[in-house]
Every structure is written in structure tokens, then in C-alpha cells.
């Protein structure tokens, strides 16, 4: 398995676009310096979002012709700061700044069984894995979960290619994914410790799976996941950050992250991954008015429940039950 975490920038030309599902656009890029993208790889794009250059990551759904054609599937984020909207506006012939394939979600070799779980747009990270497992003749199951069929990209194609190995769960058809049944099924199977799960989807699904995985005492390293780094338990809303040591309060708009808002306000904070994985941006919480929507995968469930710290890059404060409180939620942070 190759883990390529080296990034270098190049230009990519848009050679094809089409609609994959409601709100999901397919964008095919032809990079300057083609490198084959192995399953699980993504590319980073540098996008100019109203004057700010921002990095956005997109999984490579398909790498063809030695990486000369990289297919991405992009979902329009409901309250987008512009990344996905920009991607949806791309036309054939447009040129974007992009990295070579970055691999931080590699598919292993040698497990007895593989379970791939896609929630919503997370399917983009798993299409190539499923193809590879099929080619290997591996024992695998592909679980696809979504809110409505119409928004589920690649659904028909995957069912056609993978047949019985696909299991589809659609909320509005009342065929919901039951995490306990899924993970319990693995724990009760013939090879519970030789089964690897690869999961990509909204944080709530991910948290539920992680909890069930731990509860069933399955080996933690066998649960692999990638976070797309945006969804939370509550919709993003405006909130306030109090910084008593600096004697300041900063408002975080619903279209900004806490980290961005603090930096925009001139507060120097440390960060690295900016997607809730490394924990470098972790700070102590002194007080909360409302709820903390953690959105990270660094803190353990127990750490999250005590509200003692949060990851600045992804966490938000929320009123929890809007309508009750009219004041925006607030957190008080210890920033020495």
C-alpha cells in the first residue's frame, strides 16, 4: 500500500462535467503532471473564494489512463463558503490549481473481509476501493446510505457493478441504516478481528460507528475512516467566542470556522490539519452557553462529553434547540 502524503502543485484542465445526482456534479480533470491516484486518494484544489485563496479537498472517484483523467464528485454544500459552489461552476476548458494525488486513506491488503460504508457524498472516497476489491476477488460489502435516492451519486452504477455486495439504505424510504445491526453483525461474524471497515460520511454516522465499534470490542485499527471535515450535529449558526485572557470576544459567522474567525480577528492560534484529526488546535473550554458541536475525530467520546476542550478548526457552538434561546450560543476559551 502506498501512502503518498507529499503534495506538490500543478494545473489541471477541466475536460468534462456532468450531473451525477441532485446537487452533485462530476468534474473530470486532466492534470499537467499525471500520476495515477490509488483508491482512497484525494486531490487538494486552491480555489479563489471571493478574494481569499482557500484549499478544498476532493476524493478521486476514478483515475484513468495513468492519472491523465481524474474524476471528482462534488456535492453543493448547503451553506457553502464557496468551495463547492465554485466547483459546480467549472466549465470544460477552465484551469484549476491542484495537487497531485494525496493518499491519507489507503486501502489495506490481506484482510479476510472488507466493509465499505458510505454516507451521502462520502461515496466518492469508496468507489475506487470497491472496484479494486472486486478485481482482487476479495470478500467485501458496500453499504450506501443517503437521505433520498435522488441525491445519492453513483447509486445505480454501483448496484449494477457490485450486485449483491451492495446494500442500500434510504432514509425517506424508511430503510434506514442501523449502525448497531451493521457493527454487531461484524462482531458476530466468522472473522470479526480480520474484518476491516472503511467509512466515509457525515460525522454523526461516523461517531455512531466508532461508538459501536468500541462497544463491540473490535480492534480500533481495523476501523478506517476519512472525514470530509464539515458536517456536525447541528446546522452551523452564528456564535460568540469569549477570550478572557485577551479580554476579547469574537463573533463567528455561520459561514466561517472558529479558527478562521479568530485568525481574521488577529488572534494567533496553532493548527495543522484543519480537519479535526491532529488535535494541535485543541484548546481548553472554560464555559459554554448552549452546546458544543465538536465535529472532530481527535477527542474521545468521553472527552467530548465533558466539554473540557475542543478543536478550533472544526468545533462550533450551537443553541441546541433553536427557538428556545434567542441569544447566540457562546464558548469561553482558555487561550494563554
Amino acid at each position: 500500500m502506498a501512502v503518498n502524503t507529499q503534495t506538490w502543485w500543478q494545473q489541471g484542465r477541466v475536460v468534462e462535467t456532468s450531473d451525477l445526482a441532485e446537487g452533485v456534479r462530476r468534474v473530470v480533470l486532466a492534470p499537467d503532471r499525471p500520476v495515477h491516484a490509488v483508491p482512497g486518494a484525494h486531490v487538494d484544489l486552491r480555489l479563489d473564494l471571493s478574494g481569499h485563496v482557500r484549499k478544498r479537498s476532493y476524493s478521486v472517484v476514478r483515475s484513468e489512463d495513468g492519472g491523465r483523467r481524474l474524476t471528482l464528485g462534488v456535492q453543493l454544500a448547503p451553506t457553502s463558503r464557496g468551495g463547492s459552489r465554485h466547483m459546480h461552476g467549472l466549465r470544460v476548458g477552465d484551469v484549476v490549481e491542484m495537487t497531485g494525488p494525496v493518499q491519507s486513506f489507503p486501502l489495506g491488503v490481506g484482510a479476510d473481509r472488507y466493509v465499505l460504508v458510505a454516507g451521502g457524498i462520502g461515496v466518492t472516497a469508496l468507489v475506487a476501493m470497491a472496484d479494486t476489491l472486486r478485481r482482487r476477488g476479495a470478500d467485501y460489502t458496500l453499504v450506501l446510505a443517503g437521505r433520498r435516492r435522488a441525491v445519492m451519486a453513483y447509486l445505480d452504477e454501483l448496484v449494477e457493478v457490485h450486485g449483491d455486495r451492495v446494500r442500500v439504505f434510504v432514509d425517506d424510504e424508511d430503510v434506514r441504516l442501523d449502525v448497531e445491526t451493521l457493527v454487531g453483525g461484524i462482531a458476530g461474524s466468522a472473522a470479526p478481528t480480520r474484518t476491516e471497515m472503511y467509512m466515509c460520511g457525515p460525522i454523526r454516522l461516523m461517531d455512531a460507528i466508532r461508538r459501536a465499534w468500541v462497544a463491540h470490542e473490535l480492534p480500533e485499527p481495523n476501523l478506517r475512516f476519512e472525514t470530509f471535515g464539515s458536517s456536525g450535529a447541528w446546522a452551523a449558526e452564528d456564535f460568540v467566542v469569549h477570550l478572557p485572557q485577551l479580554d476579547r470576544s469574537v463573533r463567528v459567522g455561520k459561514d466561517s470556522s472558529m479558527l478562521d474567525a479568530l485568525e481574521d480577528a488577529g488572534v494567533d492560534v496553532m493548527w495543522d490539519c484543519r480537519k479535526g484529526e491532529c488535535g494541535i488546535c485543541q484548546v481548553k473550554v472554560l464555559d459554554v452557553s448552549g452546546r458544543i458541536d465538536h465535529r472532530d475525530v481527535f477527542l474521545s467520546q468521553q472527552q467530548k462529553e465533558t466539554y473540557s476542550s475542543l478543536c478550533l478548526c472544526v468545533a462550533r457552538a450551537a443553541r441546541g434547540e433553536p427557538g428556545k434561546a434567542s441569544e447566540p450560543a457562546a464558548v469561553t476559551l482558555h487561550l494563554p
Binding site: 500500500m1 502506498a2 501512502v3 502524503t5 495513468g66 491519507s104 486513506f105 489507503p106 489495506g108 491488503v109 490481506g110 484482510a111 479494486t132 478485481r135 482482487r136 480492534p219 480500533e220 485499527p221 481495523n222 478506517r224 475512516f225 476519512e226 472525514t227 484529526e277 491532529c278 488535535g279 475525530v297 481527535f298 477527542l299 474521545s300 468521553q302 472527552q303
Partner: protein, 367 residues
Amino acid sequence: MTILDSPPVTAASKIFNFPRNAWYVAAWDHEVTAKQPLARTIADRPLALWRNSDGRAVALADACWHRLAPLSKGKVLGDEIQCPYHGLRYNSAGRCTSMPAQETINPSAIVPSYPVVERHRYVWVWVGDPDLADPSCVPDMHQMDSPEWAGDGETIYAPCNYQLVLDNLMDLTHEEFVHSSSIGQDELSEAEFEVSHTDRGVTVTRWMRDIDAPPFWLKNMRDRFPGFTGKVDRWQIIHFEAPSTIRIDVGVAKAGTGAPEGDRSQGVNGFVMNTITPETARTSHYFWAFMRNYRLESQTITTQLRQGVHGVFGEDEDMLAAQQRAIDANPDHEFYSLNIDAGGMWVRRILDRMLQAEGLPAAAAAK
């Protein structure tokens, strides 16, 4: 484009590139242990090799996910290896299993792991596309662990491109000049030879009839036929299997007793087992052994043969190192070929087609 329609190579690249989609020997089986990881670079990939608690050999990239400290300097702890620097642990798939200073494990914490097969007393690794790693493609070296053969060998760390070693073994007329005191004799360069090939193999066959046995072979004949004197028929049948394994079926039999026709009962037979693993473009791990099919019980003969071949191959090693230095000192000079290079040139063509199939150039990148 299939392998067969690709255009033939014309020029002989001096620093030959190596295929990645291939099994290479990384180590003798006994070198890889559950006690201490072994550091070895295979086809430009630095690896940490170790065994987990069920005895399975494991190959991980020799650089920690965190700050790239070499895992080979770490500890094997049952089914895991621990980084020597900040204590991250990895399982045999390369997945991090423990980050001591936090309650969770970063989902992207993984180091590359490589497919491994143990066969013929060696640990083989595949550094290319893991989905193509088919254990049935491990080169045939069955004499290494067959009950009908006995022998042993060593590893030479050869300071040269692996293709120079292949060239050396595909043409044995050099024995007359490089190994004149042991196995060389004038008849070698006089004897006719025949070259045949398939798409993964090359065979060079040479018979020398009714000749005097050189010192090495006279000793072997006497081990089996005490007091032997007289002429012999001598053979050298070189079998190359891609990408870099060469078994040489060698021996002598009492002259005129039918060895060329297939009856070797009046002779002694050995297999010189060679498999060459590129370490970098200019360095190689050269694993060799000498296996014989007579006097299997004698450890003395095993030791004597290993020491004898050790001396012979030491002469090759000196030549190969000097050749590589001269190549590097003369970057503008080309290789020319002689009639005796036919076997080596077929090897190059097979390798060149493997490289093309992987989209790699035939010449390794300049240092």
C-alpha cells in the same frame, strides 16, 4: 500495447532501471526475526522487516508516519512495532494502533506495508502495485529447499547496478579470465553456446566435451568418485527468470558417459542459485547459494563449496565494483556488445518490456 508488440531495445542502458511490479528477495529467512527489526532498502524503498507473533514476516516502510524516524531502530512488541522516537505503534498492515499521548488514533496514521512471501529460504517483497502481487510469480528456486539438494550461500553487497551482475552471470566466458585459478579454462570461450528465450526467461546452454576438469570440478568429482582421474564432459546451463533470478545448472561427468544426452549418473551436478535485488540504481543485494545433489549428508562438503564459491564470487565482486566506477567516470561512453552478450541482451529486452509496461524508462534516473 502488449508486452510482445513493444519495440525492441537497441541501445544498452548502462544504469538499468528496475521493475517495481516484481518479487525481490529482501533477506534470508533467518535474517528476519521477532526480536529486532532489520533495515534494508529494496528497489529504492527503505524497509523495516520483522516477524509478528505467529511468525509471519512483515515489511513496512522504514519511516514513521509522525516525524519519519526509522521504525527499524524500534522494537518488535508481539504483533506490533514501536517507533523508537515517540512510541507510536503499528500493526503488520502498517496501521497505527497506539498514540501514547492521546486517547484516539489519528485516522490517517498509516505507514505503507508491502506484500511478503516466504519461499525457498528467502523473504520476498513486492514494492510495486500490491494488487498485482501474485505469490505464484515468485521465481522458481526450488533447489534451495528441496530434500534432493543440499548447500548454502551468502549475500554479497555489490556496489553496482543489478544489471551488471545479471550480465556477469549470463555470460560465463569471463571465468577464463576472472576465475582462472578455480573454474576457468580455455575451452570456455572456445565452446559454442545456444541461447533460447520465452517472454519471462532466457536459457544459455554450453557443453564442453572431453576436457580436463578444472581444480574446482576435479575436487567435486573426487568427493563423489574417490580417486577419479581422466577427461570430463562439462556443462553450464544458465536459466534466467525475470526480473533478476539466475540459476546455473553446472557440472561435469566422466567423458563419453552420456551426460549431454541426459544421463548424468557418472557425474556431479550443482546449481548456482543467484537472485539479485536492486537496492538503488548503483547498489545491489546479491543473494547466492551453491546447491548439489550428491553427498547430501556431508556438512563438510557444504562448507567447502560455500567457501570455494565465496572466493570465486569475491573475484566477480571486485570486477563489478571496478566496472561501475569506470562507468560512472565515463558518462559519455556507450556500451558495445559482443557475440557472447546474447544472453544478457535478451535479459535486457525482457526487463525493458517490463519497465515499459509499468511506464518506467529503461535508464534509471541519474544520481
